[in-house]
């Protein structure tokens, strides 16, 4: 069990031991870092490639289609074929574009998407750097995406790109606030900003003491996940690239490998956001029976599945409705949720805790729903003429 659990950690150790035989100590540190970097740099794009396959397959099945099935068995080689296609495509830069910025934008967008992998705890002892402010690092670095999208949209000199860029910024800046606040309960409960500590704090009950099983944890989980979906521009919050309105938003004018890089960033952030949600509220790698990394992957992919399931089902919100959701519903509710978390730790007795927190959350969300009446659907009755 422990062997399986630590198989990746031990193999890295073995390589380092092997290397220490003929390398100086300083070099070993570099080799160690290189192994971690290499693993992430390989894992990120690989995940992205197979997430595209996964999404096409899943949405296809939802729509009663088969999805990719011609290249390789079950279409498993499809991402590779797509990659080759992307690489060999003509790279079109619009005549009026700002060429340098146009080139830099997709490069810049991939960097933060890759960087955040470094604080994701993939399993027990499997985190590239255990920063004591890991969560903050994640949020700060993913905020950089905004700049990259801005660069791309501005440099394209296309009105659709510009509209997409403005929508993106409005969306990302708005959703960052409730997202950070939705993560606060987990920080309060674990007393640390380090992702590893947060996971370790959910370790009781045979590995099932996940935050999501508490009322505040459940609400926090939903809020964080929703904001995460909005942060990586996925349906129903995909208005920055709403293909039916503004063609493709900020990446309208991108083709070939640059376009692939935009997609790579998007899919990697889909993975990392799901991973972070799992880390914060679903106990990360904690869980009985299975190896820790397997638990982590199961949880993460379950969340990825839900994101893609959303995509297969839901239409998209309008700009003002989406902003309204962030500022008028999610933000107050996350603030109340922080309060509830505090109360949870200052009261004792399970009944009182549960009653108080569930009561406050239900009442406050009901009040918020009432405040958001204009966004609620009406009931309509239709007449028939003979």
């Amino acid at each position: 069990m422990i062997f399986l659990d630590q198989i990746f950690v031990n193999s890295k150790k073995a390589i380092l031991n092997l290397a220490s035989a003929f390398l100086p100590t300083d070099a070993i540190l570099i080799v160690s870092a290189l192994i971690s970097i290499g693993a992430i740099a390989a894992f990120g794009p690989f995940t992205m490639m197979y997430l595209t396959w996964f999404e096409r397959k899943l949405v296809g099945r939802i729509q009663n289609r088969i999805g990719p099935n011609r290249v390789g068995i079950f279409g498993l080689l499809q991402p590779i074929a797509d990659g080759i296609k992307m690489l060999t495509k003509e790279d079109i830069v619009p005549a009026g574009a700002d060429k340098v910025v146009h080139f830099l934008a997709p490069v810049v967008v991939v960097i933060p998407a890759l960087l955040v992998f470094s604080v994701v705890p993939f399993g027990r002892n499997m985190v590239a750097i255990d920063l004591n402010i890991g969560l903050l690092f994640f949020l700060a670095v993913s905020a950089m995406t905004t700049i990259a999208i801005f660069m791309g949209s501005w440099a394209s000199r296309n009105k659709f790109s510009l509209l997409g860029g403005m929508r993106t910024v409005a969306q990302l800046v708005s959703y960052e606030v409730p997202m950070v606040l939705a993560a606060v309960p987990a920080i309060l409960a674990s007393g640390s900003l380090s992702t590893v500590d947060i996971v370790e704090a959910q370790g009781g009950w045979n590995g099932l003491k996940w935050f999501v099983f508490t009322p505040w944890g459940f609400v926090g989980f939903l809020m964080f996940y929703l904001c995460g979906v909005a942060e990586c521009n996925r349906t129903p919050f995909d208005i920055p690239e709403a293909e039916s309105e503004i063609v493709a938003g900020f990446h309208t004018e991108y083709s070939g490998m640059k376009f692939a890089l935009w997609y790579m960033a998007e899919f990697m952030s889909v993975f990392t956001i799901s991973a972070l949600t799992a880390t914060l509220y679903l106990g990360g790698y904690q869980g009985p029976w299975l190896p820790s990394w397997a638990w982590f992957m199961i949880k993460t992919y379950a969340l990825v599945f839900v994101m893609m399931w959303f995509r297969g089902t839901l239409p998209r919100l309008r700009v003002d409705q989406m902003m309204g959701l962030a500022w008028k519903f999610l933000l107050p509710l996350t603030l109340i949720n922080i309060l509830v978390t505090g109360l949870w730790y200052f009261t004792s007795g399970l009944g009182l805790r549960l009653g108080l927190s569930i009561g406050i959350l239900l009442v406050s969300s009901w009040v918020l729903v009432l405040f958001n009446r204009p966004y609620m659907p009406e009931k309509r009755v239709y007449e028939f003429a003979e």
Binding site: R61, N64, W309, G312
Partner: protein, 193 residues
């Protein structure tokens, strides 16, 4: 909230059904999955299906039924049929076409040529995988490409074939009876059998 959840339930049901209710091969009867793996798998051809026209001949390509009467070319709505009547050595017109071209880029598969033809010589084919390396010349079909035997017609449209054979047999009998009734018909050529 509940509307969204119900919608998600429906999509999930379809997702699961696509694994457990496979489609019957070569038909549209659906369980969960509807994709038809096209080149390998095809729907059964409908008898009335029409695509581009073809010219019919009975036994050999020389004795085609078409008499170059030009009716189809006149009735064709997009005017995609071009016919030149053949002449014999003396320059007298023959009852067969020398040139019979159909521009498939223009043809709109309406089937009016088939309806209008009084000699049952042109019919709509089931062949739909028609392509060419460029957009103009290779899609103008000439007579040699358009000619197909009656057996082909019998294969693609059995019901119509039986009806038309019956009709032609009756007409031929009528003609023969008329020819026998009249002792000396002037230039009584039998219809090209």
């Amino acid at each position: 909230m509940f509307g969204v959840l119900r919608g998600m339930g429906i999509t999930f049901k379809n997702f699961v059904a696509s694994y457990f209710l496979p489609r019957k091969p070569n038909s549209l009867e659906t369980g969960g999955m509807v994709t038809l793996q096209y080149p390998e798998e095809r729907l059964p051809e409908k008898e009335r299906f029409r695509n581009f026209p073809f010219l019919i001949y009975d036994t050999k390509p020389d004795d085609l039924r078409c008499v170059a009467c030009d009716i189809c070319a006149k009735e064709c709505p997009p005017k995609c049929i071009y016919i030149v009547r053949d002449n014999d050595e003396q320059g007298r017109p023959l009852k067969k076409p020398k040139v019979f071209d159909i521009d498939f880029t223009v043809c709109m598969n309406c089937g009016i040529c088939e309806e209008a033809c009084p000699f049952d010589a042109i019919f709509m084919d089931h062949e739909f995988e028609v392509g060419g390396p460029e957009r103009q010349q290779s899609l103008v079909y000439h007579m040699d490409q358009l000619l197909k035997p009656a057996t082909h017609f019998a294969k693609i449209r059995p019901t119509d074939h039986v009806a038309i054979e019956e009709k032609r047999r009756k007409e031929a009998e009528k003609k023969r009876a008329a020819a026998q009734a009249q002792p000396k018909p002037p230039e009584a050529k039998p219809p090209q059998a």
